[in-house]
Amino acid sequence: MDMSPSRTYLRSLCLLLTVPWTAGLCRAQETDTCVVCHGVLDPPYQVTSEQFSRDIHSQKGLTCAACHGGDPTRTDMDAMSKSAGFRGRIARSQIPALCGSCHSDANSMRKYNPSLRTDQLSQYRTSIHGKRLVQGDSKVAVCTDCHGVHDLRPAADAASNVNPLNIAKTCSRCHANADYMKEYSIPTDQFTKYGTSVHREALNVRGDLSAPTCTTCHGNHGAAPPGVATVQNICSNCHVFQAQLFSKSPHQEAFNAARLPGCVTCHSNHAVLHPGDQNVGTGAEAFCTNCHVAGDAGSVTAKKLHQNLAQLEASIKDSDQVLAKAESSGMEVSGARLELDQARDSLTKARVSVHSFQLGPVEQDIQNGLKVSARTMQAGNEALGEREFRRKGLAISLIFILATMFGLYLLIRQIEHTTNEEQT
């Protein structure tokens, strides 16, 4: 917000007049005098006491002077004098070093949070952001861009910019801004793509805080794009078995030769969609057809893999329908339902085994699943048979009950008829 010079002078005069009075109050309350003035200034100089009270540093007892210097106990403008050690506004290029002066010092940090890491600054210096900052690029992210300033919250706080739920949005403030990123010649669609991914759904929709966000793959303080050779290592942090199977598969060597970046070749990077059985085989959505052509060995294997997966899925579905029908009829099939989960586990295992790109391991999992689903199907059919038996039993019982009721009715009539005749 622009201010005219006359308004600025007027505001400064007011401040000079009010500082001694308000400062007197502050002394009485032993508060940080900086916020007395900065609380009523316009942005970017404004820092209200309410805002600063939310800051983790404030909560740990640090005052403005810890970063900006000066003497917060003084009530006059000399509080911001050079003799009082006032550093004023911190230049962007100096921010990492200033934060690191405490956060890289294990002795300092031990007093406040002994479990907090102290390698942020050294990591930052290895990051693209840190390297470019040293080269004089002040547009790159420094600590305060991500963590905020004056109301900085710990990462565990859901309102923090660096909470896992908010990190993608925080990164996108720069990385999704095409104008801001123009000179770096890197894409700006990562955030949009990530928004469509299964990872974002897991994190933001299902609230699974272990699901990956930007920093999970790129690092946080040491943020850098992973190279082609390391992508697989990054995914394997979570997808351990898939990575192990892939590394032993024939694809590993072929991908290395073609300099293809492992996992993301099929699954993409930021826009990792929920994989399905349709992605295996020779269908329209199959990843395999990106490289394999109809009739080659890989294509034949892919087709069989797909058929195996489809067979078990259909078998589970059929079994589930029979059990649901029995259950809706009031039959107790919870044991079979529980057992059917084992078949689902086998299907999940087979889907993981697909990353070996060999029929043997997949078929073994599929056969295990098929045996279980056959047993549960039998249990479901037996339950439906039992239901029919009960209904037939009911029908016979009702016939007997109705016949008895009718017999009793006739008996009453006969008794009363005889009684009436006797009375007559």
Partner: protein
């Protein structure tokens, strides 16, 4: 024939000791009023029949049921899936419980609207009221026994409400739960109430209730009584045995048919095993016969003047229950308006219970 002689000998032996001939003689002589409203009196007999069903099926369930938090659910599951006709016994026990409470309510309201509680049958009414409370106690304690999720949380809510009773509420809650929380101790305690305390008390009360009915006879509705007084020739009596008994038997067979159909077509579900550490599932509702009370407590604001809403609700229900028990004395004591007060209270109670029960199931 020697067999006939043997039977006659045994009968004579038993009769010599128990006086069965005398009892049979009085039964043969016993008559009941016969009029167009006689059928309303069958509900009491049906309730008795269903209580008998409950006793028989309950004893059969006891052969396999295990009253502990670790085994209760599994034992009921075993009864439902492995025990020969276990599903039938358990489903009939559950359906008969609900049908019995419905019959108790119908019996109570038919007695109320036919004014069968009039002098000298006040004690029959009061013993019936206590039997109603015992039936509700059976329902509440039996509901927990399968130890499934719904039952666990419904019991938690139910005992919490009991804990709101002024003065003795907390102690009562701790007594019911066997501690501060609903645990395995609560299950064991409820099992004790369900299979020992309540059946014992109920049997005694039923005997008293029947003795009073036997002693005072079945009431004749006032409208019929007036007609009979005006024209004694149209007054009709029916022999209790076999005429009334056979009619009652038809009603019992009807109840048996309904029970069999419900058990075969809608076997009583088991749900999932209770997990005390899991959050309460959404939409916890009590059994239908507690629904109107539950809904009332939901409608009362949390604070009414200075009284806690739940406490106020409990006090109001306590007051209403007290007045309900005293209705025969109000009818007999208040000369001009007594009858109107009772009928008005009855109509209001029916409308209130039906409306709030429906609302409880329909409203989200």
């Amino acid at each position: 024939m020697p067999d006939v002689k043997l039977i006659a000998h045994i009968r004579g032996w038993v009769d010599e000791r128990f006086g069965l001939q005398e009892l049979a003689g009085s039964l043969k002589k016993k008559t009941v009023p016969h009029h167009k409203l006689s059928y309303w009196y069958f509900f009491g007999g049906i309730t008795l029949f269903l209580f008998g069903i409950q006793v028989c099926t309950g004893i059969l369930l006891l052969l396999y049921y295990r009253p502990s938090a670790g085994e209760a659910f599994e034992s009921v599951q075993y009864i439902m899936t492995r025990v020969q006709f276990g599903w039938l016994i358990r489903s009939i026990h559950s359906w008969a419980a609900n049908l019995m409470i419905l019959m108790v309510f119908l019996h109570m309201f038919s007695v109320l609207f036919l004014r069968a509680y009039r002098k000298p049958r006040e004690l029959t009414w009061i013993s019936g009221m206590i039997l109603l409370l015992l039936a509700l106690g059976f329902g509440f304690s039996g509901y927990l026994l399968p130890w499934n999720t719904l039952a666990f949380f419904a019991t938690k809510v139910g005992t919490e409400i009991a804990g709101q009773v002024p003065v003795a509420g907390h102690r009562m809650m701790v007594f019911l739960r066997g501690g501060e929380d609903v645990t395995g101790a609560t299950l064991t305690r409820f099992f004790g109430f369900h299979v020992a305390v309540l059946p014992g008390l109920t049997t005694l009360l039923i005997l008293l209730h029947l003795a009073l009915v036997q002693k005072l006879g079945i009431s004749v509705p006032p409208s019929v009584e007036t007609q009979w007084k005006q024209n004694p020739r149209i007054a009709r009596q029916m022999k209790f045995f076999p005429n009334f008994f056979l009619r009652e038997a038809i009603a019992w067979y009807l109840a048996l048919g309904v029970l069999a159909a419900m058990a075969a077509i809608y076997p009583w579900g088991l749900g999932t095993k209770a997990d005390p550490f899991s959050p309460a599932p959404a939409g916890i509702k009590p059994e239908w016969y507690f629904m109107f009370m539950f809904q009332t407590l939901k409608f009362i604001p949390s604070k009414v003047i200075f009284i806690d809403g739940e406490v106020l609700g409990i006090l109001l229900f306590g007051l209403a229950g007290g007045i309900w028990v005293l209705l025969p004395f109000i009818d007999n004591g208040v000369r001009r308006f007594g009858r109107r007060i009772v009928v008005g209270a009855g109509v209001f109670a029916v409308c209130y219970i039906v409306a709030l029960t429906i609302h409880g199931y329909v409203a989200k």
